[in-house]
């Protein structure tokens, strides 16, 4: 008897859920938002935004004829993965100053760009509130979000305002970010990466800063720069495998293989046994286990080594992570006095290398469920064509062609006297160097990456030979793609 009642209850509950599934209306957004901002207590870093929020809440709650403009400004929440102090806060501050009269204010919400951080962003996007615009840093995330309807089709807005994305940012740069002829994001940053070098160590060893080099030259230099023993050992290079086991493929080998480096021409199979792949895997293995010029993979994992710590604490002469350049200026966390220089990534000995590792990054998207799409669009236009400049302070180079590069340079080298080698930094990081390795296809990219990482780990730990590991990776990867 009572069982029936329970079942009825359950059914009622289920109906509720299915209704939720059918009609996901984005209501109550304003309410919840208002509550949250009302609870704001300003913090030092989010100072301006916090104040703006506080004012907004006050205006909303109190009498409309109070001080100020009288109308409640729109408060945009902009999600990004760059720490606020590395530029975004200054950018948002500038925006808030410029748009004060126009009733738009922005708050920068910092999320850590890792699995958990992206999950958080996505669930918040699904809820339909709490995000107005957001940054994507990875094509994989971007395409998933576009497919999932989490990014606004920008066509109409662009046409209305005559905002020509191809014209403004360079057609060859942005084409691969067009999905079926439609832009869902605005790429804002030029990605051009390379090796970060400890110039003092190079000078000491009498080695000039390279402007191009092959795997074997790189390996030789790393050997020369390695010295010391135990805790005092200084390595020639650090390969960052604890974070990304694919470093020598994804950053080095890509110069020959191009953006779709994991696949064969039509994307139906992997190319994990390609000679360039073999050469790249061999390079990492030899440096770690033969030459001892790079910390082994096991050491990197168990000691939680990182590019930031290894390089800034002078335990290695080179790291493949020029995006960590923002640490150079962070003397508080990383007190140091050596000069940091840059070099392009080494390229395979036995293959042509027509591509440059890099492309565009920091793709700015608008949440289609945002109640303030127009205000958001204003922000997006402003940010991509002008507001992005302060981020050069943290090493990010704007993509927009109309931006004054002198100002960018000024930001890039500000507070860095005697810490950055200007010539090599400009050459590697700032001035466009050639055609980038753009990705165009990505079926099962995440799983393929994991398969290759797993086999690569076995290779680096000496469980399998390079040939065996890559052959196994290919077999597994091809099986996955064949499904």
């Amino acid at each position: 008897m009572k069982m029936k009642r329970t079942i009825a209850l359950l059914l009622a509950g289920l109906m509720g859920i299915s209704m939720a599934a059918c009609g996901a209306k984005g209501t109550d957004g304003q309410d919840a938002g208002g509550n949250k901002t009302g609870a704001a207590g300003g913090s030092e870093t989010q100072n301006n935004a916090g104040d703006a929020a506080g004012n907004g809440a006050k205006d909303g709650a109190g009498d409309a004829d109070g001080a100020g403009s009288g109308t409640e400004p729109v408060l945009l929440k902009i999600w990004g993965g760059v720490p606020p102090e590395a530029g975004p806060q200054e950018s948002v501050d500038r925006f808030n100053e410029a748009y004060q009269d126009r009733g738009i204010q922005a708050e920068y919400v910092y999320y850590v760009n890792d699995d958990n951080g992206n999950l958080k962003l996505e669930t918040t996007l699904m809820a339909g509130e709490g995000v107005d615009a957001y940054m994507c840093y990875d094509e994989r995330y971007l395409s998933k979000r576009i497919e999932g309807g989490m990014a606004l089709d920008l066509t109409d807005l662009c046409e209305r305002d005559g905002f020509d994305i191809k014209e403004l940012f360079g057609e060859e740069m942005v084409t691969s970010y067009e999905y079926d002829g439609v832009f869902y994001c605005i790429p804002t940053k030029r990605d051009q990466y390379g090796m970060m070098l400890n110039k003092d160590m190079f000078d000491e060893a009498g080695i000039p800063i390279p402007t191009e080099w092959t795997y074997s030259e790189f390996r030789e230099i790393a050997k020369q720069l390695t010295h010391g023993e135990g805790e005092q050992k200084v390595y020639g290079a650090f390969l960052n495998t604890q974070q990304n086991l694919l470093t020598t493929f994804q950053y080095f080998g890509v110069a020959s293989l191009g953006g779709d480096w994991m696949y064969n021409e039509d994307g139906t199979a992997t190319n994990f046994t390609d000679p360039v792949m073999v050469e790249s895997a061999q390079l990492a293995y030899d440096m770690m286990n033969v030459d001892g010029s790079a910390p082994t993979h096991v050491d990197s994992v168990t000691q939680k080594l990182s590019c930031d710590g290894m390089f800034m604490n002078e335990r290695t002469a080179m790291v493949p992570a020029s995006w960590t350049v923002r640490n150079v200026k962070n003397l508080e966390s990383y007190p140091h006095d050596f000069v940091t220089a840059f070099a392009p990534y080494p390229v395979p000995d036995n293959a042509e290398a027509p591509y440059i590792m890099g492309g565009v990054g920091d793709m700015l998207c608008i949440n289609p469920k945002s109640p303030n799409v127009d205000a958001c669009w204003e922000y997006v236009k402003w940010y991509s064509t002008e507001g992005v400049v302060p981020l050069a302070y943290g090493g990010r180079i704007p993509l927009c062609k109309s931006i004054d590069m002198d100002e960018v340079n000024e930001y890039f080298f500000r507070d860095a006297e005697g810490l950055l080698d200007e010539e090599s930094a400009k050459y590697v990081m700032i001035v466009p160097r050639g055609s980038y390795a753009f990705p165009t296809i990505s079926p099962n990219a995440a799983e393929l990456g994991d398969i290759l990482s797993e086999e690569m780990e076995a290779v680096l730990n000496g469980k399998k030979t390079v040939e065996q590991g890559l052959a196994d990776a290919k077999e597994r990867g091809d099986a996955l793609l064949a499904k």
């Binding site: 209850l9 359950l10 509950g13 096991v298 730990n461």
Partner: protein
């Protein structure tokens, strides 16, 4: 007859009223989400596509996992982990709780020390353990002091990573078990012990003949909850090893999480969690049936 029926109805009503608040929460935030996940386990749902945007694919998710080597390794590791971790933890806790209760001076500080790991934030203690296991960490140093010249790189070693995680799990759960046992021991009938003492029973005899049987309902509770906890191990793996090296510490919930949020295969992840559920259910049912033999109320 009628009066009996009426009384039963009254009993029913009282019972339901007592469990109502609890039941409501359980239905809304556990049962419904659970059924929802059952539903999506038959779909190819990718969660960024939004609710309702899926295709039904029958049992495909349930079939393909048996050919998925990541799933199989996760299953295997989880089972090994649970069948080592649970008995060890409970055994140690039972002995410790009984010994503290019967013999120790300064019961409080000892219990507190043992309980500390359990009350600590899992993120914080996991980070501490990563350091413990690092080559310059206290654990490695201790092993060296015990005469091992070249201790393994615990978390980076294919063979030792899983035992390292097991050790940490035991460490963090033992205090909880001691605590639960302790509160159960307070309820033990003292007169029976005194009678046994009169008969000249030794401490070890009393432990096995009296304490262990008397505590069996608590043990039963602990076995079930620990199994469930250990099977759902997640944060430690995510922070310590990310399932590596290779697949040596890949456990079920970690792989489920990865499938759902890294590969976006929500349907597949749901299907795997139902398999996990089925395994736990079978284990629990076996124990439920078996308890009649060894649990004495």
């Amino acid at each position: 007859m009628n009066a009996k029926k009426r009384r039963q109805r009254k009993t029913d009503l009282t019972g339901y009223l007592f469990i109502l608040p609890n039941m409501l929460g359980m239905i809304l935030f556990t049962l419904i989400p659970m059924l929802f996940s059952l539903l999506i386990s038959f779909t190819d749902w990718n969660f960024v596509k939004g609710f309702g945007n899926w295709n039904y694919i029958g049992f495909e998710n349930y079939l393909k996992m048996w050919k998925d080597e990541w799933f199989l390794s996760a299953l295997c590791n989880t089972v090994i982990l649970a069948f080592i971790c649970v008995p060890v933890t409970i055994g140690l806790a039972l002995i410790a709780a009984a010994a503290i209760d019967r013999f120790a001076f300064g019961k409080l500080p000892i219990r507190l020390a043992m309980f500390m790991p359990y009350i600590s934030n899992v993120v914080a203690v996991t980070i501490v353990w990563v350091m413990m296991y690092s080559p310059w960490g206290p654990f490695t140093q201790m092993v060296k002091m015990m005469g091992v010249k070249d201790p393994p790189q615990w978390l980076g070693d294919y063979t030792w990573a899983l035992p390292a995680i097991i050790l940490m799990m035991v460490w963090s759960n033992v205090g909880y078990c001691v605590m639960i046992y302790t509160s159960a021991i307070q309820g033990l009938p003292r007169d029976v012990y005194e009678a046994a003492e009169m008969d000249g029973a030794g401490e070890i005899c009393k432990f096995f003949r009296l304490t262990v049987p008397f505590l069996s309902p608590t043990t039963f509770f602990l076995v079930i909850t620990l199994f469930i906890n250990v099977f759902q191990l997640f944060a430690q793996v995510q922070i310590m090893t990310k399932g590596g090296p290779g697949t040596s510490t890949n456990v079920m919930v970690y792989y489920i999480y990865k499938s759902a949020f890294n590969y976006y295969n929500m349907g597949y992840a749901a299907a795997m969690s139902w398999i996990l559920f089925a395994i736990l259910l079978v284990i629990t049912l076996i124990q439920w049936k078996g308890q009649k033999r060894w649990v004495s109320y």
